[in-house]
Symmetry: C2
Subunit: 343 residues, 2 copies
């Protein structure tokens, strides 16, 4: 059994979507055992709508919920909330393998650092979503928002963390790592990028492919793109927004003539599949890379299917032995020896 | 007559596409007069393919071309190149209204600063493309790559420059300005963003709408999005890449079944219109904001139509009195008085 915690109260559609996601996930993976944290009566009311394997689901009653308006560092002190209860259980119980939440991103990051703790040697965790690319696979983007300000040693660690994630969860051997920059030439970017480029070029443990641009996240051939949390967030959100722009243009154009309206009847299913691929939220959440156990931050707007994907992703990361892969790469990289000026 | 210079040798498809663009532009605007700089014999060979109003086109022979590999600060010293010749003519001849180039971005920026010169009071020029948005209009993004590192006073000036551009070229009165950040809340971002937010909140001359995220460039309701050149470039390129991802997915899905192949026959025209809207390069290039006359940097891959759009955009900016609008806003804003710590 793989035991995963689900914050049943986090997100805009909680607990309904969370409970639905739990039921879907249990049906798909017979080795999965779920612990839902949250208001027991609300969760039970939702669970009544479904039939599921009751021997693989338990509820831990938590009266409190972390809201999106709570200050993260304050929120982690409230031990009776569904998210923070889950974090403490994750930390203390060896048999629990991971955590999924669609709640506050800030509280998820702070809880990961202050309660669960970082992998030995890791300076800061990174949020890492998997973004669909033209090759039909995914590009991992680390960091996409946990650290607005970064030093080069952090970026180098994100490269290691992302590489380990690519291997553990997506089976990519020797993943190619790109550094997100405003041009591909070696000298490009600000001093942070220039320094990081130099370190990464001579670093062991990663397969460094040089600088990449924003477009390479979706069309390039890197498996991992490393960014500070500010520009990584800008990239991720820009891609999400463009997906919405396209769907808007498509809707307008397909209803603009009789011919295209007829055509639409034939391509409805294809459009539906396109929509699903462009709905980046569904891919399975962002992994909080660098903490001691797999923690998945699912989008705040997650519906049942997305929650189920995030749970499956957490299981996948656990089964892929992410944490030991990170530790092995960290040792190989020997970053302390090559870091030049940041610390 | 509106006299515009065209660097006939800049870009991947020069001079063929540039000459084609010139001919297209002359046909569309009877008040347009074009001066092409470049290798006279090559330009004339291309011109022979078309019929056009010969009284509104002249060629200035330049033996040299700035290549993408030239170091920009060195390139601007080579006065016989098509781009630098054009810059010197633009500076010295009062009756010339603007310049269009698809050549080296770096040389275009450096030439704008060192030869043409900045508008009095402007610290650094910004590259500003117009990106299609869900509303069916455009969002102006300043800066998208001229300045990898920025101070808050520069970002505040980009807000003024972008506002003047929105009014002058797109007729938007009191344009809404957003600050590109990794979240919309007031406290979000790094110290640069936090300081800039404070200054912009109390600044005259702009209609500040607060922080925006990457997604707001294409789906939000701001007319101008202000960014440092690093994250602005990441946003622009991420959006471009996503457009390509979508076209790739569309192609795959529309050829995936008999039904969708039939449907495609009915929606071919709609797809063509979608493609055109997603081809962001076609919109008409990026304006080099903050220099003394309109300079348009067209994409390096520009084809004839794109060059023609960029020329039309330069004319539009000139006719909209951009420079005097910038000067008026600069006076109104009185940035020196409110800038807190950057200078």
């Amino acid at each position: 059994m793989v035991k995963i915690l689900l914050d049943a109260m986090g997100g805009d559609n909680a607990p309904a979507s969370n409970v639905k996601g739990a039921v879907l996930a249990l049906a798909k993976d017979k080795e999965l055992y779920l612990i839902l944290t949250g208001r027991q009566n609300e969760i039970e009311a939702e669970l009544k709508k479904y039939s599921y394997d009751k021997t693989r689901l338990e509820i831990v009653d938590c009266p409190d919920v972390v809201s999106m308006n709570d200050i993260p560092t304050e929120a982690v002190k409230r031990k009776q909330s569904s998210l923070i209860t889950a974090y403490w259980m994750l930390k203390k119980q060896d048999d629990i393998c991971g955590l999924v939440t669609a709640g506050s991103t800030g509280a998820t990051i702070v809880g990961g650092q202050l309660i669960l703790g970082r992998i030995r040697g890791i300076k800061r965790p990174a949020l890492c979503p998997a973004i669909p690319n033209v090759r039909g696979g995914v590009t991992l983007l680390a960091d996409c928002g946990a650290n607005a300000e970064c030093k080069s040693v952090m970026l180098c660690q994100f490269a290691l963390l992302g590489s380990a994630y690519a291997t553990a969860a997506f089976g990519i051997e020797n993943p190619k790592v790109g550094l997100l920059n405003n041009g591909t030439e070696e000298h490009k970017g600000d001093p942070l990028r220039q320094e990081t480029y130099k370190i990464m070029s001579s670093m062991s443990g990663i397969n460094f492919a040089g600088n990449v641009e924003g477009r390479d996240i979706t069309i390039g051939d890197c498996d991992v793109v490393v960014a500070d949390g500010f520009s990584g967030n800008v990239a991720l959100k820009s891609i999400e927004g463009c997906g919405k722009l396209v769907l808007g243009i498509m809707k307008r154009e397909l209803s603009s003539s009789v011919s295209s309206k007829i055509g639409y009847l034939f391509i409805r299913k294809a459009i539906k599949r396109m929509r699903a691929q462009l709905d980046f939220d569904k891919v399975g959440g962002a992994l909080l890379l660098g903490v001691k156990k797999p923690v998945i931050k699912s989008h705040g707007t997650s519906k049942g299917e997305t929650i189920a994907n995030s749970i499956a992703n957490a299981v996948n990361v656990y089964r892929g032995n992410l944490i030991s892969k990170v530790e092995a790469l960290l040792e190989k990289a020997n970053l302390d020896a090559i870091t030049v000026s940041d610390e």
